[in-house]
Symmetry: D2
Subunit: 359 residues, 4 copies
């Protein structure tokens, strides 16, 4: 199988490198408008074909699948072109800049009988899959709340704010681990370097049953923090993506509601501290697992873990966050949240798509 990669900026070369290492992949062709970037790719991977014209990839009959790693506002139009040329599509996160456009890509993929997969890379990490397994096992008890911080300095985007840039990671992780999508969102943020492009923000995702997820994202923090805490009724889990050896820690600490004390001064809840367990996490490059999964789904007609609906759910949360941001932090409902993965790849029923499109 030959694959194409459109966009060779920051992320594209990683896609190229990982595709090259798959035994199923016989060749990779690359496209970028910037010839400097193409030259760099060529120097690193001399076997790769390069071009500045996307058509060269779209019209290459040997290419079965194309990955799109370009700025977000181009995802929809490039994705559409890829699908119209009947190639499978791997599109970087966020899937598009509106849920409507995600929906159009899903629908088009269904029509042309091709796959659409979204690059929610964290869903392919050993750590996040371990967390999903632990949460599903009930070891933590009921999840009470999730708190996630993803901050660092730099990597500003020109066309999207920090929520659209960084929060897709947290949203896709939390949705994936919890197996559900939030009902509504509050978001607050502010912009300091480019008007209208928030560079720091806080999101509160309201799931059903009082479950809440807090997300703090920033491009302006001198510390690099990537930490997500899952607080359960029995145990707590901290996922620190920066830590090399201790990515996941499970704290056997719980809070117990004590009998009510009327006495003046006796006002503490009891709590207990316990052991900490740090499970071993396999060490592999998640992007390798992601592209292998993509190729495997293509070969065997399987639905990808992070399919178009998964991308749509994340973008729906981002949209609600954006509306909240513009309405002084008001609670905004998430439109597309119930949409679930299908048991079969094709076709999506017309009625379902109508429902989806009707919102």
């Amino acid at each position: 199988m030959k694959v194409g990669v459109i966009g060779c900026g920051y992320w594209g070369p990683n896609l190229v490198r990982n595709f090259l290492q798959l035994p199923e992949v016989t060749g990779v062709a690359c496209c970028d408008l910037d010839t400097t970037k193409l030259e760099r790719v060529k120097r690193l991977f001399p076997s790769v074909e390069t071009t500045t014209r996307a058509e060269d990839l779209l019209l290459d009959e040997k290419i079965e699948a194309i990955a799109v790693a370009t700025p977000v506002h181009t995802h929809h139009s490039l994705g559409e072109m890829v699908l119209k040329h009947r190639k499978h599509l791997l599109v970087e996160k966020p899937m598009a800049n509106s849920s409507r456009r995600c929906l159009e890509l899903i629908e088009l993929a269904s029509e042309v009988n091709r796959l659409v997969m979204v690059g929610h890379t964290f869903e392919y990490t050993a750590a996040v899959n371990k967390i999903k397994e632990i949460v599903a096992s009930g070891e933590l008890g009921d999840i009470l709340y999730v708190s996630s911080t993803r901050v660092n300095l730099g990597l500003f985007q020109q066309d999207i704010n920090v929520i659209w840039d960084l929060a897709p990671h947290d949203i896709s992780i939390i949705n994936y681990v919890l197996g559900k999508s939030p009902v509504g969102v509050n978001a607050q943020g502010s912009s300091h370097y480019k008007k209208g492009i928030e560079d720091v923000a806080t999101l509160t995702l309201n799931y059903d049953n009082g479950l809440v997820a807090f997300i703090h994202v920033s491009w302006l923090d001198p510390n690099k923090i990537r930490r997500t805490t899952f607080v359960g009724s029995k145990k707590m889990l901290v996922y620190d993506d920066i830590s090399a050896q201790e990515k996941i820690k499970i704290y056997d600490k719980g809070v117990e509601a004590p009998p009510y004390y009327e006495t003046y001064g006796e006002f503490h809840f009891s709590y207990r501290y316990g052991d900490i367990f740090v499970p071993r996490i396999e060490d592999y490059e998640p992007l390798r697992a992601e592209v292998a999964h993509f190729v495997d789904c293509i070969k065997h007609g399987k639905i990808p873990r992070s399919d178009g609906f998964s991308g749509l759910r994340v973008v729906s949360v981002l949209e609600a966050a954006q509306r909240s941001l513009r309405a002084q932090g008001r609670f905004m409902p998430v439109v597309y949240r119930g949409v679930s993965n299908h048991g079969v790849l094709h076709p999506i029923g017309q009625r379902e798509l109508q429902i989806l499109r009707a919102g």
Copy 2:
């Protein structure tokens, strides 16, 4: 000078210990309804008088000042009694459970010509004062935003939620460092152990000129984090209260808005990494500095750094947060924010109090 302490639970014994070490203080008397607590104090500090009746302190003519370290809902009534008996008042944070009641204490103190000071302990730490000095010097440039996390496991309160319990620290620190109070607040939170008592929450404080402060507080986090980041246009400062040797770090990192690039893929802001500086912070117990300041203000008729107005401003933010919490996170204005410290101790003008009371 003899002083009294009402409330000998978690915090009271620390007040006793620090008062005892001041040369100006000749004796300390303690009150608590719980005799076990009194016995513990007696064992630790045999010279201290103990009683279960607050009147014993209020009627003791030798006692000039009383510190109140009881649950929040009792601050107003106990504070009122203290002032009515013409003793100076040091009341724990938050000053009271409503801005109205803060105002009443301020007014009463003015009438009886006594001091009211609020136990915003962090305003007396070497670290926070160093930060205030650095920010005032302009070294960080303009402050763009502040982000604060104060989470740990335990110390639940029965009568107040986690915002009223933990956020007063962050609010008083940020107000003190910035020299201003926020215009409005958004707050989201949820409760898991006691209905109506939020145990985790996020606040967004909106100051003027787009300056924002994000505060995350929790009683349910397995990690103990107390970190406040001040992001300036020139440098950034991280205050980590848990760190023994590196409480304050100044990052010489800045982001520069680059010329606009149209080119596809060339979408990064430039940023520069620089040196880090960790200034030496003096090591002293802040509560010692706080009670010494209290005694000094009494002796010399000075207005305390954390006077009643400072307490009022913090409680006004808490009130706005509480209203936002009950309104699904909507933006809520802060009522008492412009009130500033007076140049002289007494008296507060009637007209000003009317304005204050009118909100």
Copy 3:
């Protein structure tokens, strides 16, 4: 029971505070030549009697036991006086400045039928006792080597070098955990501030069966490190005394000797990474447990965990280290290593003492 404390510098006040909190202790009397120190103690603990004359304590018939917390070179003479006045003796580590003098104290205690206990505080910590239990259980497999680092800035001693000051902690911990004493020692060090007083040093303790312990101590390191690693054939344990929440970590990592590969380039041993477990450690003040144990041994005629022989074994290692230091790091045998705790308190047989004295 009334107790005395001789020496009120850095450590003495901690002894006073902990003795005062024992229910069995009815009174504490303190002695120091420096009246400033006595005044400080008096201010902190008004109930304590203070004096500059050791005789006041020695002749006080109500005093049953005396703790000696003075510079090392005075331990022997003061300890002798304490025992001669038929009082039980708790002496700070190291027990004395020579094994000969340790032996004399042991012999004297036996003669007067009084206890001698050495303040090896770490043997009373929850962490070290947990480690002893884990090692004894065989969970780590055979212990292959131990590596310990105890460095920080400051607390120079005038009369002893950094080995005599800091290494007693490591030696007593390792001896206690392993249940044995080393056969010989190599030591290297250097002095920079006071001629002949090494301020940094490295010790290698050679136990039998190839088991080795490496100890690095310094008064001149800007980092405060107190970490001891026990490498076992099955698992490894790291004891980090500085860490608040994660004092002990057990690594399920082992190295497996692979079949021998001759092939050029295939030269790696296999090793496996595994889970990490952080057991909960009880939180109590070790000095409290130590003085409680002392009082308990006195009351019930029991032999203390860190008895005179334990003190002697540590001093014998220090002596060998000192000799090695003076002989350019040559291996030096440890003289008193086989001496074990007795099953009964008194008396020590004459023959045994002769053997001991003969070395």
Copy 4:
């Protein structure tokens, strides 16, 4: 310029990758006895020529220089072949398994008028060069001692012990920073997995003027630590190679010898804590700088920073350590320490070589 690389195990592919990225390098040819390794290299870098026969490289006239990244016991014979074929030689550290063989390579290189450079990679890191600059500036005052820890789990070698494997890094760093070589060495260690191959060890390097360096190395430590502390009379510097953002910290802490106190209990040296400064360190791959330096020296006839004499000095320390290890830790002199880099590349005078050979 075309270059060859012999040995494609762990390190070889890194050499290949970095040579490929140099503009001066037009081609790379690789040799390994293991075809699996060659296939891996070919897959990663399709342009590279591969062979299992070293002669193919030695006889290729276009190849000007060859890097040898094979097990240590083969360095000498392969290096000799490389030089005899009149190609410049870059040999991995340690340069050879005896000082005699280092000397032979130096002499041979001189005869054939070719360069010999040793892969002391750390001498090409931004951090170590920054440290050298800081030490040279006198900012730290006189260096009193150095303490270095390099431990981790795994990467056992079959033919050399942990001292020959890991300590060359520390020795080359310390020699390079201090600009001198130690007079003598003490070493202690033990082996647990392969008889005679120590897997943990401690070295004490004795420089002149009482300057000492302590080095602790292990293949069996569950923590990965790579930290070198330079303690100066004015300031202290900690180099933590694991830290991403804070590789170098300069502590403005000093110890001051106070006037002598006779008083009982007044036994502390004074010390002062100060600010900490974390200079920005440039971020580049040191191996890139190393191979660029190698190529630059070839092109311009310059003497490499880590020339053969530098390799010889490190091996002389390793030899002394090995002798000490076999003599129960006795102090052993370092034979080749005074040998210094030449001002010109060729030739080495016969007299000097005789002196060297005479030891």
